[in-house]
Amino acid sequence: MEAFLSNIDKVVDGFSWTVRLTLFSALFSFILGIVLTAMRVSPIPLLRALSTGYVEGIRNTPLTLVLLFCGLGLNSALGLSLADSVAWDVFWWAVIGLSAYTACFVSESLRAGINTIPLGQVEAARSLGLTFTQNLSLIVIPQALRTVVGPLGSVLIALIKNTTVASVAGLGVQEASRQMKLMFDQGIAPVLPTFVGFAIGFLILTLPTGYFFGWLSKRVAVVR
């Protein structure tokens, strides 16, 4: 355990990338997820079709492929650069890939939430003369969000764990699992304590998130 603790700076560095990946991807996927949901229920058939196609397509593609496409396809083949340093460049590509992937799950949860809203709410809104956008942003989305706090928490936990895939070739963000692999391979610390240490690190991130969202979902639940 001492060898692991003497390398604690590497561990902390790894988890700092994990947390940054999670925060930015969570933010962007949440926004994109709401946009996709709005498109999915919009009166314009083309928008509905685009949203359905996107969600069904990306949701059924492995995350490894999505991130590989961002790394090898968009970053290398297209030659698009998002930041000056390599570390931040691959970081932003990883955020794009993770957000594009996670947004599908946010959108699916939100759509399930919309389906739980009683018909009368929307009919009342329409009878007051609210337009589609007003209806969605004032009546439907706020209520839907409150009912899907729990599922969104699960999506966030999945995202925290999925950030490890950002270590894939072509990206190679120095996040926690990659640091762990490097420590295994370089033999700078015994395998078992290293694994346990990193596992505890992830549990510190995922377990409180789960409890927090469980508490929050009870607190904001809509009583019907």
Binding site: N115, N135, V165, K181, F202
Partner: protein
Amino acid sequence: MSAQNVLFDVPGPKARARYRIYTAFTVLAAIAGLAVLYLGFNRTLGEGAPSILSSEAWAPSPTGQWTANKWLPFIDPATWTDYVIPGLQNTLTAALLASVLAIVFGLVFGIGRMSDHWWIRVPSSAVVEFFRGIPLLMLIFFTMALPIAINQLLPVFGQPPMTPGTFQVSALAAVVTGLTLYNGSVLAEVFRAGIKAVPKGQSEAAYSVGMNKTQTMWLILIPQAVTSMMPAIVAQLVVLLKDSALGYIIAFPELLRSFTLIATRHSNVIPAAIVCAIIYIIINVSLSRVAIWLERRNAQRGKQSAKVGAGPGVAPEPTPDAAVPGAVPDQGQETRNKPTEPS
């Protein structure tokens, strides 16, 4: 609430005109986005490239990804027999092995978590929460490093270290182990929720006819829980199949790895990625369809049994003939319509 056609009124002439404008904008935006991707992968975008108004920019350039040469490998049978099919076989082997093992793992620990004995319940809970809370990739890395770990631990117990190579973990074993532990833990929670959702009367009835705990669990609760949770189980198996692509990272020769090999060999990253994505989407969408079909079947079955069972007295189980249109309605038909719809 069904979202469609409730959030907005039937459009009048003004709204229809507005929708047409929005549609036009969407089409333009989509075309612009696709054009950037097309030109980008065609290597005719940015500095030193021909003007995007010239036909030169739009013709598939030999250095770009859209030229026919980059796609030809996919109509060559050798590509499929040498790369894609073996990769697909490996992916399916790993997924199938892991599915079976994960279901066993899930059953054992799901039931373990509901045990009456704390010394079974607490460790089972700890195992499930641990493997559910840490990333799958870490489990795979750790399984790969297991020989090193054992070699480091043996001296601690006063044993001599193994000679190198006596114990090795193959990439397949690492992937299957990781997938089993992670998805098994998720399935354990699914089974637990399913068993809890079986009405209490079922187990009470089982105990009252003299069944013991094991019999009640295996003969009464688990069959009903598995049936009602089948959609969730299949959905988790889709996740498992998708996650098997993580094997790529530890060089397990599965489908994604095959496609990256094709991509390196013919330097056609984009066509390879597109074909690979299509294959995964086809497999996963068909599996998801199975889940949806099971869900519908369950819903129908639940409705029937709820309605038949809710009637006073013993209503006979509807015979298969009753489903045939024009068949004589059986006794259950009347009782079926009486009770109110379960909300």
